[in-house]
Symmetry: C2
Subunit: 102 residues, 2 copies
């Protein structure tokens, strides 16, 4: 069953996803977890957002089964999270091209 998420009135998965990823720092957190697990404070330092909001976003990402807390290593992407990341990776190369235009 799909969770009702803020700003997503239809419940259509793509809308739920766009709403989730469209919250401040969410995409960035997924991005920072792209290679290895990161501790809460590492994320904080890398991202530079307040602990309050990082914690809120991590909770949302955990509920969305995209991120999990591994006591040994820290926060890491789940299998689903890695799948999503794989879809987002092409943004990296494209952003370099895009940057030439702006």
């Amino acid at each position: 069953m799909v969770k009702r998420v803020r700003g997503s009135r239809t419940g259509r998965p793509i809308m739920v996803l766009l709403d989730l990823l469209g919250r401040r720092w969410t995409l960035r957190i997924v991005w920072e977890l792209r290679e290895e697990a990161k501790r809460f404070r590492e994320l904080q330092d890398l991202i530079g957002a307040s602990p309050t909001i990082i914690n809120t976003r991590l909770a949302e990402l955990r509920e969305a089964k995209l991120v999990q807390l591994d006591e040994e290593a820290g926060y890491r992407l789940t299998t689903l999270g890695e799948e999503l990341l794989r879809l987002l990776l092409p943004l990296h190369v494209w952003s370099e091209k895009w940057a030439k235009f702006i």
Copy 2:
């Protein structure tokens, strides 16, 4: 030259992009423009956000050369915007799979 964007202190294009797309309604606006141009009010009705913020986001997307205003047809994706959209389209299918897990 890459614009300095809120929350993006490095200026690295991927960070600028993630910051831009990570603002509320931005991904959603790009998504709604995926097929045809839309009028300001159409976007407002589809999305359900305040005109203030829709206008702000449209201005940002226009400055980022991802969206343009075509007087005849309304707001539409630029060539760059279409490229970005093509990278985002796989999210649609994936979100359906993801929805089964949440």
